[in-house]
Amino acid sequence: MSQPASNGYLPGHSYDAKVLLRVYIALLVCAAAMIAVSRVPLEAIGLEWVDLHTFKALIIVALSAVMTTIVSGFLMGLKYESSKLNTLVFLGNFAFLALFVAFTWADFHFRGLIDPSFEKQINWESPVDKANAAGGEGHHAE
């Protein structure tokens, strides 16, 4: 019963220890690069002509995308699939997420323009202000 299919097929891709080790090291390097980019003061090396905030964020997003590709391709085995059906499911996910991001961004960005009273409608009672005010009365002194 538990034999390979009649055509000799064995399910799943064959794992290779060397590939796994390389994948692991690549992921560690990416993670280290991510941390380094966020910590290195780029102003100090004469890169003040770019918007550092955006520049760093873009590099970190790119590294995150590389790590996602490595994990889904090698550890989750999408690279070795014959039908590519699961790859379609995975990429389809990102298509719908992109749609979601687009609508959310549009809402965040334009709602105040269309309805200027929007900002006033939100009444955020700040617990931070409350705690700071209560601090003067000796409440929960840190």
Binding site: S2, Y15, F96, V101, S126, A131
Partner: protein, 217 residues
Amino acid sequence: MSAQATAPKEHEVAHHFDDLEQEFESHRMGMWLFLASEIMMFGALLVGGFGLLYRFPGAFAEGRAHLDWRLGAINTFFLLTSGFTMALAALHGQRGDQAKVRRSLWLSLLFAAGFLVVKAYEYSTKFHHGTLPGKFWRAEGFTDPHAHVFFGYYFAATGLHVLHVLIGMGLMVWCLIVSRKVKFTRGYITPVELSGLYWALIDLVWFVLFPLLYLVG
């Protein structure tokens, strides 16, 4: 590794499948569809996070200063290493080495537990300082009036992630139990493979959460 009362048996293809290939590919696809729903759930959470970052950049900058990126880095290491050992478990499973499968699973459990220990330490410092969500907030000295928004998001996002880590650890334990009953072969590693897929998803979510909470800004 310990003495076994009964030797693990070979896996038998369920009667409603033609062969191992059909069974394995069906299980794998079922898992991928489930992971797709998980990605959409975490997607909503992450898009919400970016929305809050866009709306309250000051709160995120101030909140981030109260998180230790080194603890985040250690946890990244733990997750990457346990992902690696889960893949090793699948590799040893294909070679039919039950003892090494179990060793890899135990290692994965160990690193996952390491992740939880660091997280517990992080949570305990937040409780100590009173940087808690919404009405539970009691920390003083924060200048941004929306600082609590960052910590509310921090607990919601990492809380859901930690819940997944716990479920993933449960899957590892399940694999350990299965490994005593069923023999893994080149043709049959389904429990380890599917648990590995789930664990890889936990890694993927962390690749976005870690920079969003600890690094960017």
